[in-house]
Symmetry: C2
């Protein structure tokens, strides 16, 4: 049922999910950070390949990434926007991670995240996630050291 307040309720549900994922990433808990990911999710990730298909592939990729850190991870989302109506929703944000890798090097980087949701059995589930960094045209290198700045209109 669609009511005047459903959008606000849905947005609040999605905020709660996102808060849960952020805590899970900070604690390097892959399973918790994939709660509410659909079994048939497609992931366009920061690194190769072009796409990961299915929850098992996404879980392997995330576990692998989390295992490259030692201790807890600093993780924040900025410029978060959420839209939801009926059984369709999306969110996007600039995500900031910093932490210490197992080899002692520090990681401090931003990436762009867009997440797409469907409501299934009264529960919002991620069916698609797109995480990336842009690249520098001249060097061909992925830009791992960018910080947010707004391009003038």
């Amino acid at each position: 049922m669609t009511t005047a307040n459903s959008s606000a309720v849905d947005q609040a549900q999605i905020v709660k999910l996102i808060d849960h994922w952020v805590d899970a990433i900070r604690n390097r808990d892959a399973e918790a950070s994939l709660s509410n990911y659909a079994k048939n999710v497609t992931l366009f990730d920061v690194v190769n390949p072009l796409q990961y298909f299915g929850l098992d592939a996404v879980r392997r990729r995330l576990s692998e990434w989390l295992s490259t850190f030692q201790g807890s991870i600093g993780y924040e989302m900025h410029d978060l926007r959420i839209a939801a109506d009926g059984d369709v929703a999306f969110s996007h944000s600039l995500n900031h991670v910093n932490g210490t890798k197992t080899d002692g090097t520090k990681l401090d980087m931003w990436w762009r995240a867009t997440t797409c949701y469907r409501k299934m059995n009264e529960q919002w589930m991620v069916t698609h996630a797109h995480n990336s960094v842009p690249f520098d045209v001249k060097s061909g290198k992925a830009s791992l050291d960018l910080q947010p700045q707004i391009v003038q209109q």
Copy 2:
């Protein structure tokens, strides 16, 4: 009003928009390819910076890119998925472009596209677009020569 068929009608409207954009890109028509982009759109693009904010910035970026080609551009979308309900929708696809740059070199590459829509005044408008390629961890280079393949689950 939400009806049983509204989702199908909305999806058909979005397919029509996408077809229009594909034709516009093939013809290197920036203005037509930005029809139905909202004035406050945010773009996470394939190349730097992290984000473009607002239609004017997006138009400049797209015009610049289209001007690097000579003749028409080969442009196709694969694995297109669309979800729409009420006034919220998203789509995602793997996009394939090939063409000849003004310096005579050939470009033939795939990228990932996720597009988010809001319905405004009975018209679907893009409020967010995320286009990217992943990068290769070892070289740090953006992967411009990948082709779709499904990762085994």
